[in-house]
Symmetry: C2
Subunit: 313 residues, 2 copies
Protein backbone atom coordinates (compact mmCIF):
# COMPACT_ATOMS: atom_id res chain seq x y z
CA UNK A 1 0.00 0.00 0.00
CA UNK A 2 1.52 3.34 -1.07
CA UNK A 3 0.39 6.91 -0.49
CA UNK A 4 0.15 8.99 -3.64
CA UNK A 5 -0.94 12.63 -3.69
CA UNK A 6 -2.35 12.26 -0.20
CA UNK A 7 -4.77 9.39 -1.02
CA UNK A 8 -4.18 5.82 0.00
CA UNK A 9 -3.32 3.58 -2.89
CA UNK A 10 -4.84 0.08 -2.65
CA UNK A 11 -4.01 -1.02 -6.18
CA UNK A 12 -0.99 -3.06 -5.22
CA UNK A 13 -2.46 -4.97 -2.25
CA UNK A 14 -4.49 -8.17 -2.43
CA UNK A 15 -8.25 -7.67 -2.43
CA UNK A 16 -11.19 -10.09 -2.43
CA UNK A 17 -14.49 -9.45 -4.13
CA UNK A 18 -17.60 -10.41 -2.18
CA UNK A 19 -21.12 -10.64 -3.58
CA UNK A 20 -24.20 -10.90 -1.38
CA UNK A 21 -26.97 -12.01 -3.68
CA UNK A 22 -30.28 -11.10 -2.08
CA UNK A 23 -33.85 -11.43 -3.31
CA UNK A 24 -34.26 -7.63 -3.56
CA UNK A 25 -30.73 -6.20 -3.76
CA UNK A 26 -27.40 -7.64 -4.70
CA UNK A 27 -24.51 -6.07 -2.84
CA UNK A 28 -20.99 -6.18 -4.09
CA UNK A 29 -17.79 -5.04 -2.46
CA UNK A 30 -14.04 -5.28 -2.36
CA UNK A 31 -12.53 -6.23 0.97
CA UNK A 32 -8.99 -6.30 2.26
CA UNK A 33 -7.39 -9.19 4.13
CA UNK A 34 -8.86 -8.00 7.44
CA UNK A 35 -12.42 -8.02 6.12
CA UNK A 36 -12.57 -4.23 5.79
CA UNK A 37 -14.66 -2.91 2.89
CA UNK A 38 -12.63 -0.78 0.45
CA UNK A 39 -15.28 -0.22 -2.22
CA UNK A 40 -18.94 -1.16 -2.38
CA UNK A 41 -21.98 -0.89 -4.60
CA UNK A 42 -25.38 -2.52 -4.98
CA UNK A 43 -27.98 -3.09 -7.65
CA UNK A 44 -31.55 -4.32 -7.82
CA UNK A 45 -31.83 -8.07 -8.20
CA UNK A 46 -35.61 -8.17 -8.39
CA UNK A 47 -35.38 -9.52 -11.92
CA UNK A 48 -32.52 -11.93 -11.56
CA UNK A 49 -34.27 -14.97 -12.93
CA UNK A 50 -32.40 -14.62 -16.25
CA UNK A 51 -28.95 -16.04 -15.54
CA UNK A 52 -27.32 -14.32 -18.53
CA UNK A 53 -28.60 -10.85 -17.57
CA UNK A 54 -27.70 -11.25 -13.92
CA UNK A 55 -24.21 -12.47 -14.70
CA UNK A 56 -23.69 -9.56 -17.09
CA UNK A 57 -24.71 -7.13 -14.33
CA UNK A 58 -22.24 -8.74 -11.95
CA UNK A 59 -19.38 -8.65 -14.42
CA UNK A 60 -20.09 -5.05 -15.47
CA UNK A 61 -19.86 -4.03 -11.83
CA UNK A 62 -16.67 -5.99 -11.26
CA UNK A 63 -15.04 -4.35 -14.29
CA UNK A 64 -15.26 -1.01 -12.48
CA UNK A 65 -12.69 -2.38 -10.07
CA UNK A 66 -10.26 -3.55 -12.73
CA UNK A 67 -7.42 -1.45 -11.30
CA UNK A 68 -7.52 -3.39 -8.06
CA UNK A 69 -5.53 -6.52 -7.50
CA UNK A 70 -8.54 -8.84 -7.11
CA UNK A 71 -7.57 -12.37 -6.12
CA UNK A 72 -10.97 -13.98 -6.53
CA UNK A 73 -14.73 -13.69 -6.22
CA UNK A 74 -16.93 -15.06 -3.45
CA UNK A 75 -20.71 -15.31 -3.74
CA UNK A 76 -23.38 -15.94 -1.13
CA UNK A 77 -26.50 -17.17 -2.91
CA UNK A 78 -30.01 -17.54 -1.45
CA UNK A 79 -30.47 -21.26 -1.98
CA UNK A 80 -29.12 -24.78 -2.02
CA UNK A 81 -25.63 -25.08 -3.38
CA UNK A 82 -23.19 -27.84 -4.15
CA UNK A 83 -20.27 -26.08 -2.52
CA UNK A 84 -17.57 -28.38 -3.86
CA UNK A 85 -18.58 -27.81 -7.46
CA UNK A 86 -19.91 -24.24 -7.12
CA UNK A 87 -23.17 -25.47 -8.56
CA UNK A 88 -26.68 -24.15 -7.75
CA UNK A 89 -29.28 -26.85 -7.11
CA UNK A 90 -32.04 -24.23 -6.85
CA UNK A 91 -32.97 -20.92 -5.28
CA UNK A 92 -36.36 -21.25 -3.52
CA UNK A 93 -37.39 -17.64 -4.26
CA UNK A 94 -35.77 -17.06 -7.67
CA UNK A 95 -36.75 -19.31 -10.55
CA UNK A 96 -34.48 -19.94 -13.52
CA UNK A 97 -31.35 -21.12 -11.70
CA UNK A 98 -32.09 -24.83 -11.35
CA UNK A 99 -28.92 -26.93 -11.72
CA UNK A 100 -26.83 -23.98 -12.81
CA UNK A 101 -22.99 -24.32 -12.98
CA UNK A 102 -22.44 -20.84 -11.52
CA UNK A 103 -18.75 -21.13 -10.64
CA UNK A 104 -17.85 -22.49 -14.05
CA UNK A 105 -19.72 -19.79 -15.98
CA UNK A 106 -18.41 -16.90 -13.91
CA UNK A 107 -14.81 -18.15 -13.90
CA UNK A 108 -14.83 -18.42 -17.65
CA UNK A 109 -16.23 -14.94 -18.06
CA UNK A 110 -13.99 -13.17 -15.56
CA UNK A 111 -10.84 -15.28 -15.50
CA UNK A 112 -10.77 -15.24 -11.71
CA UNK A 113 -11.33 -18.03 -9.16
CA UNK A 114 -14.97 -18.09 -7.99
CA UNK A 115 -16.31 -19.64 -4.76
CA UNK A 116 -19.98 -20.11 -4.02
CA UNK A 117 -21.87 -20.86 -0.83
CA UNK A 118 -25.28 -20.43 0.72
CA UNK A 119 -25.92 -16.89 2.00
CA UNK A 120 -26.48 -17.94 5.63
CA UNK A 121 -23.14 -19.78 5.69
CA UNK A 122 -21.49 -16.66 4.31
CA UNK A 123 -23.04 -14.45 7.02
CA UNK A 124 -21.86 -16.94 9.61
CA UNK A 125 -18.34 -16.95 8.16
CA UNK A 126 -18.17 -13.16 8.45
CA UNK A 127 -19.39 -13.19 12.06
CA UNK A 128 -17.02 -16.07 12.83
CA UNK A 129 -13.94 -14.41 11.41
CA UNK A 130 -14.46 -10.76 12.28
CA UNK A 131 -17.76 -10.43 14.20
CA UNK A 132 -19.82 -11.79 17.07
CA UNK A 133 -18.70 -15.42 16.75
CA UNK A 134 -14.95 -14.82 16.75
CA UNK A 135 -13.11 -17.70 18.37
CA UNK A 136 -16.11 -19.92 19.15
CA UNK A 137 -15.86 -23.67 18.67
CA UNK A 138 -19.55 -24.51 18.37
CA UNK A 139 -22.33 -22.04 17.55
CA UNK A 140 -25.78 -21.84 16.02
CA UNK A 141 -26.35 -18.96 13.66
CA UNK A 142 -29.86 -17.77 12.73
CA UNK A 143 -30.85 -14.94 10.38
CA UNK A 144 -34.38 -13.89 11.19
CA UNK A 145 -35.66 -12.11 8.10
CA UNK A 146 -38.42 -12.72 5.57
CA UNK A 147 -37.61 -16.39 6.03
CA UNK A 148 -35.19 -18.07 8.42
CA UNK A 149 -31.55 -18.58 7.47
CA UNK A 150 -29.30 -20.87 9.41
CA UNK A 151 -25.73 -22.02 9.69
CA UNK A 152 -23.69 -24.07 12.12
CA UNK A 153 -20.18 -23.55 13.37
CA UNK A 154 -18.92 -26.96 14.43
CA UNK A 155 -15.47 -27.58 15.83
CA UNK A 156 -14.33 -24.15 14.66
CA UNK A 157 -15.57 -24.48 11.07
CA UNK A 158 -18.72 -23.60 9.12
CA UNK A 159 -20.48 -26.94 8.72
CA UNK A 160 -20.90 -28.19 5.17
CA UNK A 161 -21.93 -31.44 3.70
CA UNK A 162 -22.02 -32.15 -0.03
CA UNK A 163 -24.76 -29.54 -0.21
CA UNK A 164 -24.35 -26.17 1.40
CA UNK A 165 -26.39 -27.42 4.38
CA UNK A 166 -27.27 -26.66 7.25
CA UNK A 167 -30.90 -25.92 6.34
CA UNK A 168 -31.92 -25.15 9.90
CA UNK A 169 -35.22 -23.53 8.88
CA UNK A 170 -36.86 -26.70 7.67
CA UNK A 171 -37.30 -28.69 10.82
CA UNK A 172 -40.92 -29.66 11.58
CA UNK A 173 -42.00 -28.48 15.04
CA UNK A 174 -45.70 -29.37 15.01
CA UNK A 175 -47.63 -32.43 13.92
CA UNK A 176 -49.33 -30.69 11.04
CA UNK A 177 -48.81 -27.06 10.15
CA UNK A 178 -48.90 -24.39 7.50
CA UNK A 179 -47.38 -25.20 4.13
CA UNK A 180 -43.76 -24.08 3.97
CA UNK A 181 -41.83 -22.74 0.97
CA UNK A 182 -39.76 -25.96 1.00
CA UNK A 183 -42.83 -28.06 0.17
CA UNK A 184 -43.25 -29.65 3.60
CA UNK A 185 -45.47 -28.27 6.37
CA UNK A 186 -45.00 -27.04 9.92
CA UNK A 187 -41.32 -26.12 9.56
CA UNK A 188 -39.96 -23.71 12.18
CA UNK A 189 -39.67 -21.06 9.43
CA UNK A 190 -43.48 -20.90 9.21
CA UNK A 191 -43.58 -19.77 12.86
CA UNK A 192 -40.70 -17.33 12.95
CA UNK A 193 -40.23 -15.95 9.41
CA UNK A 194 -41.29 -12.27 9.08
CA UNK A 195 -43.68 -12.92 6.27
CA UNK A 196 -45.71 -15.32 8.41
CA UNK A 197 -45.77 -13.02 11.44
CA UNK A 198 -46.76 -9.98 9.37
CA UNK A 199 -49.50 -11.91 7.58
CA UNK A 200 -50.92 -13.14 10.90
CA UNK A 201 -50.98 -9.64 12.39
CA UNK A 202 -52.62 -8.11 9.31
CA UNK A 203 -55.26 -10.81 9.31
CA UNK A 204 -56.06 -10.59 13.02
CA UNK A 205 -56.19 -6.79 12.86
CA UNK A 206 -58.03 -6.82 9.51
CA UNK A 207 -55.49 -4.35 8.15
CA UNK A 208 -55.17 -3.59 4.47
CA UNK A 209 -51.83 -1.74 4.62
CA UNK A 210 -48.49 -3.44 5.12
CA UNK A 211 -46.93 -3.70 8.55
CA UNK A 212 -43.38 -4.72 9.46
CA UNK A 213 -42.25 -7.06 12.21
CA UNK A 214 -40.30 -4.16 13.69
CA UNK A 215 -43.57 -2.24 14.03
CA UNK A 216 -45.34 -5.27 15.50
CA UNK A 217 -42.59 -5.52 18.14
CA UNK A 218 -43.13 -1.85 18.93
CA UNK A 219 -46.93 -2.26 19.12
CA UNK A 220 -46.43 -5.20 21.48
CA UNK A 221 -44.24 -3.07 23.74
CA UNK A 222 -47.00 -0.41 23.64
CA UNK A 223 -49.53 -2.98 24.89
CA UNK A 224 -51.32 -3.80 21.64
CA UNK A 225 -52.89 -7.10 22.76
CA UNK A 226 -52.84 -8.87 19.40
CA UNK A 227 -49.27 -7.78 18.71
CA UNK A 228 -48.30 -9.11 22.13
CA UNK A 229 -49.94 -12.46 21.51
CA UNK A 230 -48.22 -12.82 18.16
CA UNK A 231 -44.79 -11.87 19.49
CA UNK A 232 -45.23 -14.20 22.47
CA UNK A 233 -46.05 -17.05 20.13
CA UNK A 234 -43.04 -16.20 17.93
CA UNK A 235 -40.69 -16.21 20.92
CA UNK A 236 -42.26 -19.39 22.31
CA UNK A 237 -41.71 -21.37 19.09
CA UNK A 238 -38.23 -19.97 18.58
CA UNK A 239 -37.32 -20.92 22.16
CA UNK A 240 -38.80 -24.41 21.91
CA UNK A 241 -36.92 -25.07 18.67
CA UNK A 242 -33.69 -23.66 20.07
CA UNK A 243 -34.03 -25.88 23.15
CA UNK A 244 -33.93 -28.87 20.77
CA UNK A 245 -30.94 -27.40 18.95
CA UNK A 246 -29.14 -26.72 22.22
CA UNK A 247 -29.69 -30.34 23.27
CA UNK A 248 -27.99 -31.42 20.06
CA UNK A 249 -25.14 -28.92 19.94
CA UNK A 250 -24.51 -27.45 23.40
CA UNK A 251 -23.25 -24.33 21.58
CA UNK A 252 -21.24 -21.56 23.18
CA UNK A 253 -23.28 -18.99 21.30
CA UNK A 254 -26.57 -18.58 19.51
CA UNK A 255 -26.04 -15.67 17.13
CA UNK A 256 -29.13 -13.85 15.91
CA UNK A 257 -28.85 -11.78 12.75
CA UNK A 258 -31.30 -10.42 10.18
CA UNK A 259 -33.88 -7.63 10.49
CA UNK A 260 -35.51 -9.04 13.64
CA UNK A 261 -32.18 -8.93 15.50
CA UNK A 262 -32.72 -5.16 15.79
CA UNK A 263 -35.53 -6.01 18.24
CA UNK A 264 -33.53 -8.68 20.09
CA UNK A 265 -33.31 -6.52 23.25
CA UNK A 266 -37.11 -6.73 23.42
CA UNK A 267 -37.29 -10.54 23.57
CA UNK A 268 -33.87 -11.90 24.54
CA UNK A 269 -34.72 -12.59 28.18
CA UNK A 270 -38.03 -14.26 27.37
CA UNK A 271 -36.33 -16.35 24.66
CA UNK A 272 -33.63 -17.50 27.04
CA UNK A 273 -36.25 -18.45 29.67
CA UNK A 274 -38.02 -20.69 27.13
CA UNK A 275 -34.73 -22.36 26.16
CA UNK A 276 -33.61 -22.86 29.75
CA UNK A 277 -36.96 -24.31 30.81
CA UNK A 278 -36.95 -26.91 28.05
CA UNK A 279 -33.33 -27.77 27.28
CA UNK A 280 -31.27 -30.25 29.32
CA UNK A 281 -29.38 -28.31 31.93
CA UNK A 282 -25.78 -29.36 31.10
CA UNK A 283 -26.43 -28.75 27.40
CA UNK A 284 -27.48 -25.11 27.78
CA UNK A 285 -24.83 -24.40 30.39
CA UNK A 286 -22.53 -21.70 29.10
CA UNK A 287 -24.70 -20.91 26.06
CA UNK A 288 -25.16 -17.20 25.30
CA UNK A 289 -27.58 -15.46 22.95
CA UNK A 290 -25.85 -12.65 21.10
CA UNK A 291 -26.72 -10.25 18.31
CA UNK A 292 -24.84 -10.42 15.02
CA UNK A 293 -22.37 -7.55 14.76
CA UNK A 294 -21.69 -6.80 11.14
CA UNK A 295 -24.99 -5.39 9.89
CA UNK A 296 -26.11 -4.96 6.29
CA UNK A 297 -22.78 -5.61 4.60
CA UNK A 298 -21.97 -8.82 6.48
CA UNK A 299 -22.72 -10.90 3.38
CA UNK A 300 -20.19 -8.99 1.28
CA UNK A 301 -17.56 -9.28 4.00
CA UNK A 302 -18.22 -13.03 4.40
CA UNK A 303 -18.11 -13.67 0.66
CA UNK A 304 -14.80 -11.83 0.41
CA UNK A 305 -13.41 -13.75 3.38
CA UNK A 306 -14.49 -17.01 1.74
CA UNK A 307 -12.16 -16.22 -1.17
CA UNK A 308 -9.33 -15.38 1.20
CA UNK A 309 -9.87 -18.65 3.10
CA UNK A 310 -10.15 -20.81 -0.02
CA UNK A 311 -7.00 -19.33 -1.54
CA UNK A 312 -5.12 -19.71 1.74
CA UNK A 313 -4.13 -16.03 1.84
CA UNK B 1 1.65 -62.56 19.86
CA UNK B 2 3.27 -65.95 20.48
CA UNK B 3 1.88 -69.43 20.33
CA UNK B 4 2.56 -71.52 23.38
CA UNK B 5 1.36 -75.11 23.82
CA UNK B 6 -1.05 -74.62 20.93
CA UNK B 7 -2.95 -71.68 22.42
CA UNK B 8 -2.55 -68.15 21.24
CA UNK B 9 -0.78 -65.95 23.73
CA UNK B 10 -2.20 -62.42 23.95
CA UNK B 11 -0.39 -61.38 27.09
CA UNK B 12 2.32 -59.44 25.29
CA UNK B 13 0.16 -57.48 22.84
CA UNK B 14 -1.61 -54.17 23.57
CA UNK B 15 -5.24 -54.54 24.63
CA UNK B 16 -7.95 -52.03 25.46
CA UNK B 17 -10.66 -52.55 28.02
CA UNK B 18 -14.15 -51.47 27.01
CA UNK B 19 -17.13 -51.10 29.35
CA UNK B 20 -20.70 -50.71 28.10
CA UNK B 21 -22.67 -49.51 31.09
CA UNK B 22 -26.32 -50.26 30.49
CA UNK B 23 -29.38 -49.83 32.68
CA UNK B 24 -29.86 -53.59 33.04
CA UNK B 25 -26.48 -55.15 32.25
CA UNK B 26 -22.96 -53.86 32.21
CA UNK B 27 -20.77 -55.53 29.61
CA UNK B 28 -17.03 -55.56 29.83
CA UNK B 29 -14.47 -56.79 27.35
CA UNK B 30 -10.88 -56.71 26.20
CA UNK B 31 -10.35 -55.80 22.57
CA UNK B 32 -7.31 -55.85 20.35
CA UNK B 33 -6.20 -52.99 18.09
CA UNK B 34 -8.59 -54.10 15.32
CA UNK B 35 -11.63 -53.96 17.60
CA UNK B 36 -11.82 -57.73 17.98
CA UNK B 37 -13.05 -59.00 21.35
CA UNK B 38 -10.51 -61.23 23.13
CA UNK B 39 -12.31 -61.70 26.45
CA UNK B 40 -15.74 -60.65 27.64
CA UNK B 41 -18.04 -60.80 30.62
CA UNK B 42 -21.12 -59.06 31.93
CA UNK B 43 -22.84 -58.42 35.21
CA UNK B 44 -26.17 -57.04 36.38
CA UNK B 45 -26.19 -53.29 36.81
CA UNK B 46 -29.74 -53.05 38.06
CA UNK B 47 -28.49 -51.75 41.39
CA UNK B 48 -25.74 -49.45 40.22
CA UNK B 49 -26.91 -46.34 42.01
CA UNK B 50 -24.21 -46.78 44.66
CA UNK B 51 -21.04 -45.48 42.99
CA UNK B 52 -18.70 -47.28 45.42
CA UNK B 53 -20.34 -50.69 44.88
CA UNK B 54 -20.48 -50.32 41.13
CA UNK B 55 -16.86 -49.22 40.88
CA UNK B 56 -15.82 -52.15 43.05
CA UNK B 57 -17.66 -54.54 40.69
CA UNK B 58 -15.90 -53.01 37.70
CA UNK B 59 -12.47 -53.22 39.27
CA UNK B 60 -12.99 -56.79 40.49
CA UNK B 61 -13.83 -57.81 36.94
CA UNK B 62 -10.87 -55.97 35.49
CA UNK B 63 -8.53 -57.67 37.95
CA UNK B 64 -9.37 -61.00 36.29
CA UNK B 65 -7.53 -59.70 33.23
CA UNK B 66 -4.41 -58.67 35.11
CA UNK B 67 -2.17 -60.86 32.95
CA UNK B 68 -3.10 -58.91 29.84
CA UNK B 69 -1.25 -55.83 28.72
CA UNK B 70 -4.16 -53.39 29.20
CA UNK B 71 -3.36 -49.89 27.96
CA UNK B 72 -6.45 -48.16 29.30
CA UNK B 73 -10.15 -48.32 30.06
CA UNK B 74 -13.00 -46.84 28.03
CA UNK B 75 -16.52 -46.45 29.36
CA UNK B 76 -19.80 -45.70 27.62
CA UNK B 77 -22.23 -44.36 30.20
CA UNK B 78 -25.99 -43.85 29.80
CA UNK B 79 -26.14 -40.12 30.41
CA UNK B 80 -24.73 -36.65 30.04
CA UNK B 81 -20.98 -36.49 30.35
CA UNK B 82 -18.31 -33.84 30.40
CA UNK B 83 -16.02 -35.70 28.03
CA UNK B 84 -12.98 -33.50 28.56
CA UNK B 85 -12.96 -34.06 32.29
CA UNK B 86 -14.48 -37.56 32.35
CA UNK B 87 -17.12 -36.22 34.65
CA UNK B 88 -20.78 -37.40 34.86
CA UNK B 89 -23.35 -34.60 34.97
CA UNK B 90 -26.15 -37.11 35.51
CA UNK B 91 -27.62 -40.39 34.28
CA UNK B 92 -31.36 -39.92 33.56
CA UNK B 93 -32.27 -43.48 34.56
CA UNK B 94 -29.78 -44.16 37.39
CA UNK B 95 -29.82 -41.90 40.41
CA UNK B 96 -26.77 -41.34 42.61
CA UNK B 97 -24.25 -40.29 39.98
CA UNK B 98 -24.92 -36.56 39.83
CA UNK B 99 -21.70 -34.57 39.28
CA UNK B 100 -19.49 -37.62 39.77
CA UNK B 101 -15.76 -37.42 38.84
CA UNK B 102 -15.76 -40.90 37.30
CA UNK B 103 -12.47 -40.74 35.41
CA UNK B 104 -10.59 -39.43 38.43
CA UNK B 105 -11.94 -42.08 40.82
CA UNK B 106 -11.37 -45.01 38.46
CA UNK B 107 -7.88 -43.89 37.43
CA UNK B 108 -6.84 -43.62 41.05
CA UNK B 109 -8.20 -47.06 41.85
CA UNK B 110 -6.83 -48.92 38.83
CA UNK B 111 -3.72 -46.92 37.87
CA UNK B 112 -4.72 -46.94 34.22
CA UNK B 113 -5.89 -44.12 31.92
CA UNK B 114 -9.71 -43.92 31.81
CA UNK B 115 -11.85 -42.30 29.10
CA UNK B 116 -15.56 -41.68 29.42
CA UNK B 117 -18.23 -40.83 26.88
CA UNK B 118 -21.96 -41.12 26.35
CA UNK B 119 -23.07 -44.63 25.30
CA UNK B 120 -24.59 -43.53 21.99
CA UNK B 121 -21.35 -41.81 20.99
CA UNK B 122 -19.49 -45.01 21.87
CA UNK B 123 -21.82 -47.16 19.70
CA UNK B 124 -21.33 -44.67 16.87
CA UNK B 125 -17.55 -44.82 17.28
CA UNK B 126 -17.60 -48.60 16.97
CA UNK B 127 -19.77 -48.51 13.84
CA UNK B 128 -17.63 -45.71 12.43
CA UNK B 129 -14.33 -47.50 12.92
CA UNK B 130 -15.19 -51.12 12.25
CA UNK B 131 -18.92 -51.31 11.34
CA UNK B 132 -21.66 -49.85 9.15
CA UNK B 133 -20.37 -46.27 9.14
CA UNK B 134 -16.79 -47.01 8.10
CA UNK B 135 -15.36 -44.18 6.02
CA UNK B 136 -18.39 -41.85 6.11
CA UNK B 137 -17.89 -38.12 6.47
CA UNK B 138 -21.32 -37.16 7.79
CA UNK B 139 -23.83 -39.52 9.38
CA UNK B 140 -26.71 -39.62 11.82
CA UNK B 141 -26.71 -42.49 14.26
CA UNK B 142 -29.85 -43.55 16.15
CA UNK B 143 -30.24 -46.36 18.69
CA UNK B 144 -33.88 -47.27 18.91
CA UNK B 145 -34.31 -49.01 22.24
CA UNK B 146 -36.22 -48.33 25.46
CA UNK B 147 -35.43 -44.70 24.76
CA UNK B 148 -33.73 -43.08 21.78
CA UNK B 149 -29.96 -42.71 21.66
CA UNK B 150 -28.27 -40.47 19.16
CA UNK B 151 -24.88 -39.47 17.87
CA UNK B 152 -23.53 -37.47 14.95
CA UNK B 153 -20.54 -38.12 12.77
CA UNK B 154 -19.50 -34.75 11.38
CA UNK B 155 -16.58 -34.24 9.06
CA UNK B 156 -15.28 -37.72 9.88
CA UNK B 157 -15.44 -37.36 13.67
CA UNK B 158 -17.93 -38.14 16.42
CA UNK B 159 -19.40 -34.76 17.30
CA UNK B 160 -18.75 -33.50 20.82
CA UNK B 161 -19.22 -30.23 22.50
CA UNK B 162 -18.20 -29.53 26.10
CA UNK B 163 -20.85 -32.04 27.05
CA UNK B 164 -21.05 -35.41 25.42
CA UNK B 165 -23.83 -34.04 23.13
CA UNK B 166 -25.51 -34.79 20.64
CA UNK B 167 -28.75 -35.39 22.54
CA UNK B 168 -30.76 -36.11 19.41
CA UNK B 169 -33.68 -37.61 21.33
CA UNK B 170 -34.81 -34.40 22.94
CA UNK B 171 -36.05 -32.39 20.02
CA UNK B 172 -39.69 -31.28 20.31
CA UNK B 173 -41.74 -32.39 17.31
CA UNK B 174 -45.25 -31.37 18.38
CA UNK B 175 -46.68 -28.23 19.95
CA UNK B 176 -47.58 -29.93 23.20
CA UNK B 177 -46.95 -33.59 23.92
CA UNK B 178 -46.37 -36.26 26.50
CA UNK B 179 -43.95 -35.52 29.30
CA UNK B 180 -40.47 -36.79 28.45
CA UNK B 181 -37.81 -38.20 30.80
CA UNK B 182 -35.73 -35.07 30.16
CA UNK B 183 -38.34 -32.86 31.82
CA UNK B 184 -39.66 -31.23 28.63
CA UNK B 185 -42.63 -32.51 26.61
CA UNK B 186 -43.23 -33.73 23.07
CA UNK B 187 -39.63 -34.80 22.38
CA UNK B 188 -39.15 -37.24 19.51
CA UNK B 189 -38.20 -39.91 22.08
CA UNK B 190 -41.79 -39.93 23.36
CA UNK B 191 -42.95 -41.04 19.90
CA UNK B 192 -40.31 -43.59 19.00
CA UNK B 193 -38.92 -45.02 22.26
CA UNK B 194 -39.97 -48.64 22.88
CA UNK B 195 -41.43 -47.92 26.27
CA UNK B 196 -43.91 -45.44 24.77
CA UNK B 197 -44.90 -47.72 21.89
CA UNK B 198 -45.37 -50.73 24.15
CA UNK B 199 -47.43 -48.71 26.64
CA UNK B 200 -49.67 -47.41 23.86
CA UNK B 201 -50.27 -50.89 22.47
CA UNK B 202 -51.04 -52.37 25.88
CA UNK B 203 -53.47 -49.55 26.61
CA UNK B 204 -55.28 -49.74 23.29
CA UNK B 205 -55.51 -53.52 23.49
CA UNK B 206 -56.34 -53.45 27.22
CA UNK B 207 -53.61 -56.01 27.81
CA UNK B 208 -52.31 -56.81 31.26
CA UNK B 209 -49.23 -58.78 30.19
CA UNK B 210 -46.09 -57.22 28.77
CA UNK B 211 -45.54 -57.01 25.03
CA UNK B 212 -42.36 -56.12 23.16
CA UNK B 213 -41.94 -53.81 20.18
CA UNK B 214 -40.61 -56.77 18.22
CA UNK B 215 -43.92 -58.57 18.83
CA UNK B 216 -45.91 -55.46 17.91
CA UNK B 217 -44.00 -55.31 14.60
CA UNK B 218 -44.88 -58.93 14.02
CA UNK B 219 -48.56 -58.38 14.88
CA UNK B 220 -48.64 -55.45 12.46
CA UNK B 221 -47.26 -57.64 9.68
CA UNK B 222 -49.97 -60.19 10.57
CA UNK B 223 -52.65 -57.51 10.10
CA UNK B 224 -53.41 -56.63 13.70
CA UNK B 225 -55.11 -53.29 13.04
CA UNK B 226 -54.07 -51.56 16.25
CA UNK B 227 -50.48 -52.78 15.91
CA UNK B 228 -50.47 -51.47 12.35
CA UNK B 229 -51.73 -48.04 13.40
CA UNK B 230 -49.15 -47.77 16.13
CA UNK B 231 -46.27 -48.85 13.89
CA UNK B 232 -47.43 -46.47 11.14
CA UNK B 233 -47.46 -43.62 13.61
CA UNK B 234 -44.00 -44.59 14.89
CA UNK B 235 -42.58 -44.65 11.34
CA UNK B 236 -44.35 -41.39 10.45
CA UNK B 237 -42.85 -39.49 13.37
CA UNK B 238 -39.43 -41.00 12.88
CA UNK B 239 -39.53 -40.06 9.19
CA UNK B 240 -40.75 -36.53 9.83
CA UNK B 241 -38.02 -35.96 12.40
CA UNK B 242 -35.35 -37.48 10.16
CA UNK B 243 -36.47 -35.22 7.28
CA UNK B 244 -35.60 -32.26 9.51
CA UNK B 245 -32.27 -33.85 10.43
CA UNK B 246 -31.49 -34.59 6.78
CA UNK B 247 -32.19 -30.93 5.91
CA UNK B 248 -29.62 -29.93 8.51
CA UNK B 249 -26.94 -32.53 7.84
CA UNK B 250 -27.35 -34.02 4.34
CA UNK B 251 -25.76 -37.19 5.77
CA UNK B 252 -24.38 -40.02 3.68
CA UNK B 253 -25.89 -42.52 6.07
CA UNK B 254 -28.56 -42.82 8.72
CA UNK B 255 -27.49 -45.75 10.85
CA UNK B 256 -30.18 -47.48 12.91
CA UNK B 257 -29.11 -49.57 15.88
CA UNK B 258 -30.78 -50.86 19.03
CA UNK B 259 -33.43 -53.53 19.46
CA UNK B 260 -35.84 -52.06 16.89
CA UNK B 261 -33.19 -52.28 14.18
CA UNK B 262 -33.91 -56.02 14.07
CA UNK B 263 -37.25 -55.06 12.52
CA UNK B 264 -35.76 -52.46 10.16
CA UNK B 265 -36.51 -54.60 7.10
CA UNK B 266 -40.20 -54.25 7.98
CA UNK B 267 -40.28 -50.44 7.87
CA UNK B 268 -37.23 -49.20 5.98
CA UNK B 269 -39.03 -48.45 2.71
CA UNK B 270 -41.92 -46.67 4.43
CA UNK B 271 -39.45 -44.66 6.53
CA UNK B 272 -37.49 -43.60 3.47
CA UNK B 273 -40.71 -42.53 1.70
CA UNK B 274 -41.60 -40.24 4.61
CA UNK B 275 -38.13 -38.71 4.62
CA UNK B 276 -38.04 -38.22 0.85
CA UNK B 277 -41.50 -36.63 0.77
CA UNK B 278 -40.63 -34.06 3.41
CA UNK B 279 -36.90 -33.34 3.11
CA UNK B 280 -35.42 -30.94 0.57
CA UNK B 281 -34.40 -32.93 -2.46
CA UNK B 282 -30.69 -32.02 -2.69
CA UNK B 283 -30.30 -32.60 1.05
CA UNK B 284 -31.55 -36.20 1.00
CA UNK B 285 -29.77 -36.99 -2.24
CA UNK B 286 -27.29 -39.79 -1.64
CA UNK B 287 -28.54 -40.52 1.89
CA UNK B 288 -28.91 -44.21 2.76
CA UNK B 289 -30.63 -45.86 5.71
CA UNK B 290 -28.55 -48.77 7.02
CA UNK B 291 -28.69 -51.14 9.93
CA UNK B 292 -25.94 -51.06 12.56
CA UNK B 293 -23.61 -54.03 12.13
CA UNK B 294 -21.97 -54.81 15.41
CA UNK B 295 -24.84 -56.11 17.53
CA UNK B 296 -24.92 -56.52 21.30
CA UNK B 297 -21.22 -56.01 21.97
CA UNK B 298 -20.86 -52.80 19.94
CA UNK B 299 -20.62 -50.73 23.11
CA UNK B 300 -17.68 -52.75 24.43
CA UNK B 301 -15.90 -52.53 21.07
CA UNK B 302 -16.51 -48.76 20.86
CA UNK B 303 -15.35 -48.15 24.43
CA UNK B 304 -12.16 -50.11 23.73
CA UNK B 305 -11.58 -48.23 20.48
CA UNK B 306 -12.04 -44.95 22.35
CA UNK B 307 -9.01 -45.84 24.48
CA UNK B 308 -7.00 -46.75 21.41
CA UNK B 309 -7.93 -43.45 19.73
CA UNK B 310 -7.24 -41.32 22.79
CA UNK B 311 -3.85 -42.92 23.37
CA UNK B 312 -2.98 -42.56 19.69
CA UNK B 313 -2.17 -46.29 19.34
Amino acid sequence: MQKRNGTIQYFSMDTFLGIDWGGTFTKLGLIDKDGKIIKKTSFSSLNSSQPDDFIKKISDNIKKYKNYNIKGIGVGAPGIINVEKGYIYYLPNIKGWENYPFKQVLEKRLSLPVFLDNDANIFALAEFQVGAAKGVKNAIFLTLGTGLGGALIIDGKIFHSKTSAAELAHFPVVKKGRKCGCGANGCIETFVGNRYIERKYKMKKRLSKEVSVKEIFKFAADNDKIAREIINEFVWYLGRYLAGMVNIFNPEKIIIGGGVSKSLHRFKKQLWDHIKNQAMEPNCKGTKIVKAKLGNWAGVIGAGLLVKEKLGR
